[in-house]
Symmetry: C2
Subunit: 129 residues, 2 copies
């Protein structure tokens, strides 16, 4: 039988930012946690929504609509937000941690992204704990 | 654009136990929160795993395997656990709150359940906030 995984202990087991760890799998979805700090990269998941829950600190998500207008959602601990599929978005944070639900295999940098991927952003489908 | 939903505010907006509210939808899945207290009912989700995150208090899940052996997983705040599809389980709690991730339309009392559903357990596919 699978054992419980504590989110705090999972987050304490690694330091890298924007490098999600998979804490649970259910059906064909992952539950991932990540430390966040700095600017992520503009990217789009063509075929899936993406769910975020802020665990600590602050986490902002800039969203860019089809005509180029950018709206930024500011998220604090306990806040949840869903980025709809096909929506360009760029996370950023002064520091914090998040939980995500998304289909297994979903890349942190989407199906498409804009410009270079910064060194502090891990382009990955999630790492084992 | 959808607005963020805060889990604490969502939980403060209702009192009923074992009566989940849907705080977010992503793809064909729900993110639900619930207050928990007392004994739930033995039930099984035939076709889906079920993800739990304990937000407050304590939440136990008894699991019964094919030969009738019961194992109880004790969960504390920050603990996550996945009940595999097809596994008989019965939650119980001295009081607390949880977050769940499961396919939209999943019933709180499963595809099959054992005995009467207690009055304090809401057999539902989740309510709007």
């Amino acid at each position: 039988m699978k054992r419980p995984v504590n989110l705090g202990e999972a987050l304490a087991s690694f330091d890298a930012v924007y490098s999600p760890r998979i804490v649970a799998r259910m059906n064909d979805y992952d539950v991932r946690v990540a430390h966040v700090k700095g600017e992520h990269v503009w990217h789009t998941h063509t075929d899936t929504d993406e769910f975020f829950l802020v665990l600590d600190g602050r986490f902002d998500i800039a969203l860019r609509d089809a005509d180029g207008t950018v709206t930024t959602v500011e998220l604090h601990p306990g806040d949840t937000f869903v980025v709809p599929r096909g929506t360009e978005h760029k996370p950023s944070s002064p520091g914090g941690s998040i939980l995500m639900f998304e289909p297994s295999g979903t890349s942190t940098t989407g199906d498409t992204h804009e410009g270079e991927i910064p060194d502090h952003v891990d382009s990955t489908t999630g790492h084992e704990l």
